[in-house]
Symmetry: D2
Subunit: 290 residues, 4 copies
Amino acid sequence: MIIVLSRDATQEQMDYIVDRVKKLGLTPHLSKGTERTIIGVIGPEDILRVTPLEAFPGVEKVLPVLAPYRLVSREFKSEDSIIELGKDIKIGTKKVVVMAGPCAVENLDLLREIASNIKKQGVTVLRGGAFKPRTSPYSFQGLGQEGLEYLKQVGDELGLVTVTEVMDPRDVELVARYADILQIGARNMQNFNLLREVGETQKPILLKRGMSSTIKEWLMSAEYIVSGGNFNVILCERGIRTFEEFTRNTLDISAVLAVKLLSHLPVIVDPSHAAGKWSLVPALSSSRAF
Amino acid sequence: MIIVLSRDATQEQMDYIVDRVKKLGLTPHLSKGTERTIIGVIGPEDILRVTPLEAFPGVEKVLPVLAPYRLVSREFKSEDSIIELGKDIKIGTKKVVVMAGPCAVENLDLLREIASNIKKQGVTVLRGGAFKPRTSPYSFQGLGQEGLEYLKQVGDELGLVTVTEVMDPRDVELVARYADILQIGARNMQNFNLLREVGETQKPILLKRGMSSTIKEWLMSAEYIVSGGNFNVILCERGIRTFEEFTRNTLDISAVLAVKLLSHLPVIVDPSHAAGKWSLVPALSSSRAF
Amino acid sequence: MIIVLSRDATQEQMDYIVDRVKKLGLTPHLSKGTERTIIGVIGPEDILRVTPLEAFPGVEKVLPVLAPYRLVSREFKSEDSIIELGKDIKIGTKKVVVMAGPCAVENLDLLREIASNIKKQGVTVLRGGAFKPRTSPYSFQGLGQEGLEYLKQVGDELGLVTVTEVMDPRDVELVARYADILQIGARNMQNFNLLREVGETQKPILLKRGMSSTIKEWLMSAEYIVSGGNFNVILCERGIRTFEEFTRNTLDISAVLAVKLLSHLPVIVDPSHAAGKWSLVPALSSSRAF
Amino acid sequence: MIIVLSRDATQEQMDYIVDRVKKLGLTPHLSKGTERTIIGVIGPEDILRVTPLEAFPGVEKVLPVLAPYRLVSREFKSEDSIIELGKDIKIGTKKVVVMAGPCAVENLDLLREIASNIKKQGVTVLRGGAFKPRTSPYSFQGLGQEGLEYLKQVGDELGLVTVTEVMDPRDVELVARYADILQIGARNMQNFNLLREVGETQKPILLKRGMSSTIKEWLMSAEYIVSGGNFNVILCERGIRTFEEFTRNTLDISAVLAVKLLSHLPVIVDPSHAAGKWSLVPALSSSRAF
């Protein structure tokens, strides 16, 4: 961590900061320049992260050097993590896995019809919402447990792996009983109690990126799950909120590359929710970049 | 709602859409132009909102005309809602109410010291976190129930109203037992199960704006609480996420005006979290605009 | 164009607006709903676009139906425009054209060395800046005419087509004398006098997207050039400014698809300036989507 | 400047970087940590700024310590700069100066009528566009020189100071002959040749913030003007582009405070263009913060 002192920092202020750093068991390195003095701090940065250094008199800014996540980082584990589902499906290899299905599970017949159609086209993971996060309290909120039952039944019948969203820490056990993969939606990416709860299961967790979350925050949310003991996290890029209005969200394709550099976790893309226009989905899905 | 057909929409597609609209009990008005045909739909727009019209062949775009929120709108209730706390504090009038306190409740003595200091400066609402939403799983997560007890004790001793965050639907009852106002944090603005849960209490709810939420989404989240029967909602503008890096968030002062135009609910401002720099807080707080 | 009246619009206000619309030679269609009256306007929307309707009493909002650009639209010309350079290079077909070269032309030898290296790797268009748009007045601003001469000389020697930026309407003639393609940089995308000036040449123009420009604004800037008589416009997606900090800009890959849907003009991608990290460029370049 | 080396940087790479820094006449300070080595560089940072250090093997990131602007900074000049216009108007003091007028100068009579009306309400600076930056090539582009003549005539008649936009370096001399203050519009904030050109006059320059420009970039554009010898720069906050759609732009009120901290230049606010809704202007103008 680098502490940049303000131009008019006093010797007393500087001594106080150096002293605080030392008391935390860290080693400060002073570099006095013509315009600014900077203090480089050597040692585990986490200790310092919780100290509100920027509020100290004489401090202009604080520049972190290390990433705040550990267990999900490439430095912790250099080889790619691969999530295996059943005997055939591996998420995180070069082989493309397609997940598809209706937005919400509406009834058994319709779900079965959709599922058998998409299965013919190579889909191996069936998605469908039983609990739906709706911006309006007046919209259909999903069938709940009944939807989970249909999803499991159709998955079993057709030999498809299933994924569905869980929105409430109280529902984690229920959803885990029925679905193969638990999805954390974009709006709940920083619902930390929910993250903690799914971190206590051993189910694969599909963690969608929040619509205005940085890559760093996204990895920190994955760290929540992993630090609870569940390493089976699949990251999902689904577009970020920008000023552009033609698409519902802006698919941040570079974020996929960034995750591959920074983390060992697998990352998938949701082109449908990103674009918000079905006509863009085929082209957005055809990249061979990763 | 306005449905704009694409230039090459067929008569058959047009008829199908008109038919669907009629079956929903609504009245379509066709305007055929030289370049486009548009269908204006008269009647309760909500019915149509859940139909994915933009996915229909022949449809170019759908333009909603009405706001999706009802109970929180000025049209539903034209006079300002005022939240009364104890005998003296009214939120939503011209009289400024100042809420202050430590980020987290750390121990009883420190909280008491801070609280009595700020009380002398005119603060009437004491805030302090017992459950803390932290981006890192390794940061201090708050004292939980112990923090709530300290908050209540100090509030009682000094005659201060208290506000604290609730992050989990399972904690609503607990937090409501100790605090006067329940805060929904920015990261939980679209945690709909939590909104529903606090909507079933009669406690005043301080609803922070999500860091990349539009004003419309913010009001929709308030609608969740109100539609559960709890009209005691206080909106809180706390800055939005933009490209600017000098401040932690960009305080959207126009949003305060927008809320006053669109809704009867009171709205407050959190200049501290918006700026992220204590030196900007006094100036950001001195506006007399509202 | 759709004019949505406010709930409390008077009959008098409504009549006034209808009257104004008619006087402009357009046909208003009224739809009176239970909550709102909307006026659909049929006829050339451009006439109405310049009238500040939203400032009229009784008007709540105005929703445009048609795109504001004409000559660059797919509706004006349905087949793809292809820009031919020399006998071999065609921009706008399935065949990938790679443009590369140094940020700035620094001297003849270095440029020649770079150019012959990249030529061996299949590059056919040489880029290099003679006039550099620098955020700092103290940075190297480019060699100017001398840089143009080197660029032309190396292009001629090696049989490479050249592209370089023009920043000033006064330099258009000069740059056009030396370079094969004129580049309008992101910061000048809405420098309308410059657009007009290059619209009067017949040179191919590489129009970079402004860093916070919508797709609509980008196409409007292309319309400026085309409306001056120069249809040789190549659009260039180079990333947009968002909250994400890992990459310098967020490459908006969906914008490429959007342009192909909305316009007949060719569109290219600049992965280097978007990412700001050389390590991401190969993967960002490997998409086969378009 | 701080250079953070990557975890796997070799001794050779480190030596090369240290050597380069020394050859530039700067002093490197190495701090070897358990996880990273960082190099603090002491001396004039500008020298290093133009070296693309992040592209060097072994470098993870580069963190600048100093601001890149000099002449406009508070450190260069600690007291507020005040721009005097005529005998009575001072921009940059506590006394509020109101600038108003039509978007575009349309004809002499209308301009005179507007000007005399607003003068009665205390306006002392008359604004009106003669050259208009229009997103559409088909919109009215302003009266040009004729508009400048009307503006000057009405200003003279009524004793009002005038301000109008200049969009083209070729027009600077012309506009400077007629108007008291030259405006650089948001879209031209990084039109560096235009900035340089107005930097060679001694006219007051009203520099609007670009719609997605950071505060740092805005100050750098002011630095362009000032470094040409013209210190008469008035900064103008006019809202930034964000995801919010209720207002045309998001007025960044904190940016006004930031400018006052970082620079000695005066800063004004354009609430009209920020809000895009006349009904919000009075409240946005009533802050007493600055």
